[in-house]
Structures are given as structure tokens and as C-alpha cells.
Amino acid sequence: MAIYTILTETELGNHSDKVDFIINRFVGLAKNPKRIMLKFEGSLPASLSSYNAYTESEVQAMRSDSTSDWYLRQASNSL
């Protein structure tokens, strides 16, 4: 079961696993403030236990809610 969390750029920058998270756990970015969404299997690692955890359905709800920072619209690049 996937579990997600969200860190600001500053929070991620201070984390010892910053590179691993970017390379292997990246899901998406949001602006203002700049944040990164990370995905893990099962549960968040202990070093991130103080951060909010989001389920797959909660993330899907964010992506489909046009008022959410994580709303995913389609880019208008069709031919």
C-alpha cells in the first residue's frame, strides 16, 4: 500500500536522504511554497514520521480537486 508525504524545499534540503528521496521517491512538485510529494510503500520512514501521511485515495482527491496545489491539469500541448 502506497503512502505519501509532502516536504518543503527547505525541509527536504535539510534531510540526509535528500538525494535518495528525489531519485527514488519523487511524485510531484507544487509551487508557492515549493514542495515535493514523495511516495513510499507501507509506511513513512522513521525520519519522516513527524510529517503528515496521505493515502493513495487522499492523493488522488488532491490531484482531481482544482482548488488543490496538487491538482493535475493536462498540459495544452496537443498537436
Binding site: 524545499e9 527536504l12 534540503g13 535528500k18 538525494v19 528525489i22 531519485i23 519523487f26 511524485v27 510531484g28 512538485l29 507544487a30 509551487k31 515549493k34 515535493i36 511516495k39 490531484r63 493535475l72 491539469r73 493536462q74 498540459a75 500541448n77 496537443s78 498537436l79
Partner: protein
């Protein structure tokens, strides 16, 4: 965007007519990719660009799939479709790392149409500048962290550039990074080509023959052979990668 390719000013004048694209590269399982047989270390330390046509089995894959990439323990570049359908570019060199990701989903769930994707990487001070292109258009994106000019020039790798996965060893790729679908007309330029040039290449709806394009260093037409049209480095099919005439842009 149809027709823009003929109207954008570019020092390159392509042979728009007469190009018959016969085959594409078919990647149907993890571990399939095209090895360029060249690390391009010196080129990656400078400005560069990549251009390719892709057709994905799923535009929102369960794991990120890399259109191009190479990875060592601390030196990485890669352009990928993410699990949200966005396109992201990752760059790690020296002690620097940057992530550049489109703000909106480029692909939707399920099989995609043939799409042109490109990235330009510009070596400048104070930090490297990235630009992602879809069907010839620059796409709005957000950047996390940065690679300084000093770090940019420290990129060090013995891993060959791969099209269709993130290669991390001699003939092997990072697990679950292979594109599942098709790729075609894969090219590498030893400069950050202009938006107009990228539009001319990817904005016309179908590929043109870009042989002779300015700064073109690798050009694989994937027309049933591994030949680099530029003559820099012929490629190798890895895993179950194959050429097919069943789908082409």
C-alpha cells in the same frame, strides 16, 4: 502546432519532404532500452539537448519511465514520465542536484499518441538552466534545487547514455526505469538548441530527417538498424528491445 516547423527561424533547414520513417524502437518489458555506447561525459559537462518521439503504453505509469538517462552513485541525468503523467528531468553532478518537473500532466492514463519530447540543458553561471519541450513547445515547469556551474562541470561517469531507460552499468539499467512502448528518432545535440529549433523538430506532428542539424552529435533513426546517422557512436539493443514497423510516428 501543425506546420510551425516550416515557419520558425532556425539556422538548420531540414529536408521536410521525402523522409520515409519505416520503423521505431519497441520496448515491451523492463530492461529493454537502446544503449548509445558512449558516456558523453564531456558533452554532459557542457550544454546539451535531447530529442525523441515516444508512444507510451500508459501515460501515467506505476513507476517513472526514462526516455533518456544514465546513473552512477552520484552522477545522474534523466528525462522521465512520472507516475502523475508529468515529465521530469533530474540532474546530479558534483555535490549538486536539481529536479525540474512540468507543472501539468503531459500524458493521460492509458496508451498515448506519438509525442515529441525534448530537453535542453544550458551550462551557465550561477546554475544550470533546463527547459522541457513537448511537441515542440516549451512547457511550464518548476525546479527544485540547482546544479551550480562548478558542479555541472564535475559530472563524471563511465555509464553510457541510454534511450528508453536509465542505464547504470555495462549493458544494464536501473530496475523499473524502462519505457514501455515505442521510441523513435532519438537525437543528442552538443548544445542547448533554441526553442525555435526544437519547435522545428518536434512541432510538425511527424518526424523530419534532421541529418545535418546544427550541433547534432547522435541521431538514431531506428529504421531497423542501430546506426548513428552522425557517425559518432552506433548503438546496441539491450534486453528485448527490437525494431518494429507496427507503429511509427
Amino acid at each position: 502546432m501543425l506546420g510551425l516547423g516550416l515557419s520558425v527561424s532556425s539556422p538548420y533547414v531540414g529536408s521536410e519532404s521525402g523522409y520515409v520513417n519505416r520503423h521505431s524502437l519497441s520496448l515491451d518489458s523492463d530492461g529493454d532500452y537502446f544503449d548509445a555506447n558512449n558516456t558523453l561525459q564531456n558533452e554532459i559537462r557542457n550544454s546539451w539537448s535531447v530529442s525523441a518521439w515516444v508512444k507510451l503504453d500508459d501515460g501515467i505509469p506505476s513507476v517513472s519511465q526514462y526516455f533518456v538517462g544514465a546513473r552512477t552513485s552520484s552522477n545522474i541525468f534523466g528525462l522521465a514520465v512520472t507516475t502523475s503523467g508529468t515529465i521530469s528531468f533530474i540532474h546530479q553532478a558534483g555535490s549538486g542536484i536539481a529536479l525540474y518537473s512540468t507543472d501539468a500532466a503531459v500524458f493521460s492514463n492509458g496508451e498515448t499518441d506519438w509525442t515529441h519530447v525534448g530537453v535542453t540543458v544550458k551550462e551557465v553561471s550561477p546554475n544550470t538552466v533546463y527547459n522541457i519541450f513537448v511537441n515542440g513547445d516549451s512547457v511550464a515547469a518548476t525546479q527544485l534545487f540547482a546544479v551550480s556551474l562548478t558542479n555541472h562541470n564535475l559530472y563524471t561517469s563511465t555509464i553510457n547514455l541510454a534511450f528508453g531507460a536509465q542505464q547504470n552499468g555495462a549493458g544494464s539499467a536501473v530496475g523499473n526505469t524502462s519505457v514501455l512502448g515505442f521510441m523513435d528518432e532519438c537525437a543528442f545535440f552538443n548544445a542547448a538548441i533554441s526553442p525555435g529549433a526544437m519547435s522545428a523538430i518536434g512541432g510538425g506532428g511527424t518526424p523530419t530527417d534532421i541529418t545535418g542539424h546544427d550541433n547534432l552529435l547522435l541521431y538514431y533513426k531506428m529504421n531497423n538498424d542501430i546506426v548513428d546517422e552522425v557517425g559518432t557512436s552506433n548503438g546496441t539493443l539491450r534486453g528485448g528491445a527490437a525494431f518494429t514497423d507496427s507503429s511509427k510516428p
